[in-house]
Protein backbone atom coordinates (compact mmCIF):
# COMPACT_ATOMS: atom_id res chain seq x y z
CA UNK A 1 0.00 0.00 0.00
CA UNK A 2 1.28 3.49 -0.76
CA UNK A 3 2.07 5.96 1.95
CA UNK A 4 -0.96 7.94 0.94
CA UNK A 5 -3.32 5.22 2.12
CA UNK A 6 -1.85 5.29 5.63
CA UNK A 7 -2.04 9.07 5.75
CA UNK A 8 -5.67 9.05 4.68
CA UNK A 9 -6.49 6.47 7.33
CA UNK A 10 -4.72 8.60 9.97
CA UNK A 11 -6.53 11.74 8.77
CA UNK A 12 -9.90 9.99 9.08
CA UNK A 13 -9.06 8.80 12.58
CA UNK A 14 -7.87 12.29 13.50
CA UNK A 15 -11.11 13.85 12.27
CA UNK A 16 -13.19 11.31 14.20
CA UNK A 17 -11.20 12.04 17.35
CA UNK A 18 -11.63 15.77 16.82
CA UNK A 19 -15.35 15.23 16.41
CA UNK A 20 -15.37 13.36 19.69
CA UNK A 21 -13.56 16.19 21.45
CA UNK A 22 -16.10 18.63 20.06
CA UNK A 23 -19.22 16.77 20.93
CA UNK A 24 -18.73 14.65 24.01
CA UNK A 25 -20.26 16.06 27.16
CA UNK A 26 -18.43 13.81 29.57
CA UNK A 27 -14.86 14.75 30.39
CA UNK A 28 -13.77 11.11 30.14
CA UNK A 29 -15.33 10.99 26.69
CA UNK A 30 -13.27 14.04 25.67
CA UNK A 31 -10.15 12.24 26.86
CA UNK A 32 -11.06 9.25 24.69
CA UNK A 33 -11.33 11.56 21.67
CA UNK A 34 -7.89 12.97 22.42
CA UNK A 35 -6.53 9.41 22.57
CA UNK A 36 -7.89 8.75 19.12
CA UNK A 37 -6.26 11.88 17.71
CA UNK A 38 -2.91 10.98 19.25
CA UNK A 39 -3.25 7.53 17.84
CA UNK A 40 -3.73 8.97 14.37
CA UNK A 41 -0.57 11.01 14.85
CA UNK A 42 1.32 7.87 15.85
CA UNK A 43 0.22 6.11 12.70
CA UNK A 44 1.49 9.04 10.67
CA UNK A 45 4.84 9.02 12.45
CA UNK A 46 5.40 5.33 11.95
CA UNK A 47 4.28 5.43 8.33
CA UNK A 48 6.65 8.30 7.48
CA UNK A 49 9.48 6.59 9.37
CA UNK A 50 8.98 3.38 7.45
CA UNK A 51 8.62 4.94 4.04
CA UNK A 52 11.55 7.30 4.51
CA UNK A 53 13.77 4.68 6.16
CA UNK A 54 14.45 6.86 9.15
CA UNK A 55 14.39 5.34 12.63
CA UNK A 56 13.74 8.70 14.30
CA UNK A 57 10.03 8.38 13.60
CA UNK A 58 9.89 5.13 15.54
CA UNK A 59 11.67 6.70 18.46
CA UNK A 60 9.22 9.60 18.41
CA UNK A 61 6.36 7.17 18.50
CA UNK A 62 7.82 5.52 21.55
CA UNK A 63 8.01 8.88 23.22
CA UNK A 64 4.50 9.97 22.25
CA UNK A 65 3.03 6.71 23.49
CA UNK A 66 4.78 7.08 26.82
CA UNK A 67 3.85 10.72 27.20
CA UNK A 68 0.27 9.97 26.25
CA UNK A 69 0.07 7.41 29.00
CA UNK A 70 1.40 9.91 31.49
CA UNK A 71 -1.06 12.49 30.20
CA UNK A 72 -3.96 10.12 30.56
CA UNK A 73 -2.97 9.31 34.10
CA UNK A 74 -2.81 13.00 35.07
CA UNK A 75 -5.92 13.82 33.07
CA UNK A 76 -7.98 11.17 34.79
CA UNK A 77 -6.67 12.27 38.16
CA UNK A 78 -7.90 15.77 37.30
CA UNK A 79 -11.26 14.37 36.24
CA UNK A 80 -11.67 12.67 39.57
CA UNK A 81 -10.58 15.81 41.38
CA UNK A 82 -13.06 17.98 39.46
CA UNK A 83 -15.70 15.41 40.11
CA UNK A 84 -15.06 15.59 43.82
CA UNK A 85 -15.18 19.37 43.94
CA UNK A 86 -17.92 20.16 41.44
CA UNK A 87 -19.90 16.90 41.67
CA UNK A 88 -20.03 16.66 37.93
CA UNK A 89 -18.18 15.04 35.08
CA UNK A 90 -20.01 17.12 32.46
CA UNK A 91 -17.81 19.58 30.65
CA UNK A 92 -20.77 21.93 30.09
CA UNK A 93 -20.81 22.74 33.78
CA UNK A 94 -17.14 23.60 33.88
CA UNK A 95 -17.22 27.20 32.78
CA UNK A 96 -15.14 29.10 35.29
CA UNK A 97 -13.36 30.75 32.36
CA UNK A 98 -16.57 32.34 31.10
CA UNK A 99 -16.13 35.99 30.13
Amino acid sequence: MPLQAYLILAAVLFAIGLFGVFTRRNTVGILLGIELMLNAVNINLVAFARFNGDAAGFIFTVFTICITVAEVAVGLALVILIFRIRRTATADHLDLLRG
Partner: protein, 164 residues
Protein backbone atom coordinates in the same frame (compact mmCIF):
# COMPACT_ATOMS: atom_id res chain seq x y z
CA UNK B 1 2.37 -9.13 -0.90
CA UNK B 2 -1.15 -9.51 -2.03
CA UNK B 3 -2.08 -9.99 1.59
CA UNK B 4 -1.08 -6.48 2.56
CA UNK B 5 -3.90 -4.51 0.90
CA UNK B 6 -6.34 -7.03 2.26
CA UNK B 7 -4.99 -6.70 5.78
CA UNK B 8 -4.88 -2.92 5.46
CA UNK B 9 -8.46 -2.82 4.25
CA UNK B 10 -9.67 -5.00 7.07
CA UNK B 11 -7.76 -3.04 9.70
CA UNK B 12 -9.06 0.22 8.26
CA UNK B 13 -12.64 -0.93 8.54
CA UNK B 14 -12.07 -2.07 12.11
CA UNK B 15 -10.26 1.14 13.05
CA UNK B 16 -12.74 3.58 11.55
CA UNK B 17 -15.68 1.59 12.83
CA UNK B 18 -14.39 1.31 16.37
CA UNK B 19 -13.30 4.98 16.37
CA UNK B 20 -16.79 6.05 15.33
CA UNK B 21 -18.18 3.83 18.05
CA UNK B 22 -15.89 5.51 20.62
CA UNK B 23 -17.31 8.93 19.84
CA UNK B 24 -20.91 7.92 19.29
CA UNK B 25 -22.03 5.21 21.73
CA UNK B 26 -23.98 6.27 24.75
CA UNK B 27 -22.44 3.93 27.26
CA UNK B 28 -19.12 5.27 28.44
CA UNK B 29 -17.87 1.83 29.41
CA UNK B 30 -18.58 0.49 25.93
CA UNK B 31 -16.78 3.49 24.47
CA UNK B 32 -13.67 2.55 26.41
CA UNK B 33 -13.87 -0.98 25.14
CA UNK B 34 -14.18 0.27 21.56
CA UNK B 35 -11.17 2.45 22.18
CA UNK B 36 -9.26 -0.64 23.26
CA UNK B 37 -10.29 -2.23 19.99
CA UNK B 38 -9.14 0.78 18.01
CA UNK B 39 -5.80 0.78 19.80
CA UNK B 40 -5.35 -2.87 19.09
CA UNK B 41 -6.15 -2.18 15.45
CA UNK B 42 -3.48 0.52 15.46
CA UNK B 43 -1.04 -2.09 16.76
CA UNK B 44 -1.98 -4.14 13.69
CA UNK B 45 -1.21 -1.17 11.44
CA UNK B 46 2.19 -0.89 13.14
CA UNK B 47 2.77 -4.56 12.36
CA UNK B 48 1.93 -3.87 8.72
CA UNK B 49 4.58 -1.17 8.80
CA UNK B 50 7.22 -3.65 10.04
CA UNK B 51 7.34 -2.05 13.50
CA UNK B 52 6.86 -5.07 15.73
CA UNK B 53 8.34 -3.42 18.79
CA UNK B 54 5.97 -0.45 18.56
CA UNK B 55 3.05 -2.80 18.10
CA UNK B 56 4.05 -4.48 21.35
CA UNK B 57 4.44 -1.13 23.13
CA UNK B 58 1.08 -0.06 21.79
CA UNK B 59 -0.59 -3.18 23.11
CA UNK B 60 1.15 -3.10 26.46
CA UNK B 61 0.94 0.57 27.28
CA UNK B 62 -2.19 1.65 25.48
CA UNK B 63 -4.48 -1.27 25.23
CA UNK B 64 -3.27 -2.50 28.59
CA UNK B 65 -2.33 0.59 30.59
CA UNK B 66 -4.52 3.36 29.34
CA UNK B 67 -7.67 1.32 29.08
CA UNK B 68 -7.11 -0.04 32.58
CA UNK B 69 -6.67 3.45 34.00
CA UNK B 70 -9.75 4.75 32.24
CA UNK B 71 -11.85 1.85 33.43
CA UNK B 72 -10.63 2.49 36.95
CA UNK B 73 -11.51 6.15 36.65
CA UNK B 74 -14.99 5.32 35.42
CA UNK B 75 -15.56 2.86 38.21
CA UNK B 76 -14.36 5.36 40.83
CA UNK B 77 -16.48 8.22 39.55
CA UNK B 78 -19.53 6.00 39.14
CA UNK B 79 -19.13 4.91 42.72
CA UNK B 80 -18.84 8.55 43.80
CA UNK B 81 -21.93 9.63 41.91
CA UNK B 82 -23.76 6.39 42.68
CA UNK B 83 -25.09 6.17 39.15
CA UNK B 84 -24.08 5.00 35.72
CA UNK B 85 -22.21 7.63 33.76
CA UNK B 86 -24.24 8.55 30.73
CA UNK B 87 -22.43 9.63 27.63
CA UNK B 88 -24.35 12.20 25.62
CA UNK B 89 -23.24 14.43 22.83
CA UNK B 90 -23.82 18.09 22.05
CA UNK B 91 -23.67 20.23 18.95
CA UNK B 92 -23.25 17.21 16.70
CA UNK B 93 -23.92 19.27 13.58
CA UNK B 94 -21.28 21.91 14.13
CA UNK B 95 -18.78 19.33 15.38
CA UNK B 96 -19.30 17.30 12.28
CA UNK B 97 -19.00 20.34 10.04
CA UNK B 98 -15.71 21.55 11.54
CA UNK B 99 -14.22 18.08 11.88
CA UNK B 100 -15.30 17.34 8.31
CA UNK B 101 -13.76 20.58 7.10
CA UNK B 102 -10.47 19.69 8.82
CA UNK B 103 -10.64 16.23 7.23
CA UNK B 104 -11.24 17.70 3.78
CA UNK B 105 -8.40 20.12 4.29
CA UNK B 106 -6.05 17.34 5.36
CA UNK B 107 -7.08 15.13 2.47
CA UNK B 108 -6.58 17.89 -0.03
CA UNK B 109 -3.20 18.54 1.52
CA UNK B 110 -2.24 14.84 1.29
CA UNK B 111 -3.42 14.55 -2.28
CA UNK B 112 -1.39 17.53 -3.37
CA UNK B 113 1.99 16.38 -2.11
CA UNK B 114 4.05 13.91 -4.14
CA UNK B 115 4.43 10.88 -1.85
CA UNK B 116 6.41 7.64 -1.96
CA UNK B 117 4.53 4.79 -3.61
CA UNK B 118 6.64 1.91 -2.34
CA UNK B 119 8.57 1.50 0.84
CA UNK B 120 12.31 0.96 0.71
CA UNK B 121 13.62 -2.48 1.64
CA UNK B 122 14.41 -2.99 5.30
CA UNK B 123 18.06 -2.89 6.24
CA UNK B 124 18.44 -4.76 9.47
CA UNK B 125 16.09 -5.14 12.39
CA UNK B 126 13.78 -2.27 13.26
CA UNK B 127 13.64 -3.20 16.95
CA UNK B 128 17.40 -3.30 17.10
CA UNK B 129 17.59 0.10 15.39
CA UNK B 130 15.15 1.56 17.94
CA UNK B 131 17.11 0.12 20.83
CA UNK B 132 20.40 1.43 19.49
CA UNK B 133 18.98 4.89 18.90
CA UNK B 134 17.27 5.04 22.30
CA UNK B 135 20.43 4.27 24.20
CA UNK B 136 22.82 6.33 22.09
CA UNK B 137 21.53 9.34 20.32
CA UNK B 138 18.24 9.71 22.23
CA UNK B 139 19.48 8.70 25.64
CA UNK B 140 18.86 12.08 27.20
CA UNK B 141 15.17 12.34 26.19
CA UNK B 142 14.85 8.73 27.31
CA UNK B 143 16.08 9.60 30.79
CA UNK B 144 13.91 12.75 30.90
CA UNK B 145 11.00 10.48 30.04
CA UNK B 146 11.76 8.48 33.17
CA UNK B 147 11.68 11.67 35.18
CA UNK B 148 8.38 12.59 33.55
CA UNK B 149 6.88 9.30 34.65
CA UNK B 150 8.00 9.91 38.20
CA UNK B 151 6.44 13.36 38.22
CA UNK B 152 3.26 12.00 36.66
CA UNK B 153 3.05 9.32 39.30
CA UNK B 154 3.43 11.79 42.13
CA UNK B 155 1.11 14.32 40.50
CA UNK B 156 -1.64 11.82 39.89
CA UNK B 157 -1.33 10.55 43.43
CA UNK B 158 -1.48 14.10 44.77
CA UNK B 159 -4.57 14.97 42.74
CA UNK B 160 -6.41 11.77 43.49
CA UNK B 161 -5.50 11.49 47.17
CA UNK B 162 -8.39 10.70 49.45
CA UNK B 163 -10.22 13.64 50.96
CA UNK B 164 -9.14 14.35 54.46
Amino acid sequence: MSLEPLAFGGLSVVLVGSALAVVLVKNLFHAVLFLALALTGTAGVFLLLDAEFLAAVQLLLYAGGVVTIVVFAIVVTERLVGDRLGQTSRFIGSGMAVAGAVLVGLLLFIRQEPLAEVRPPLDGDVTRAIGDALLTRYVLPFEVLALLFLVTLLGALYFARPED
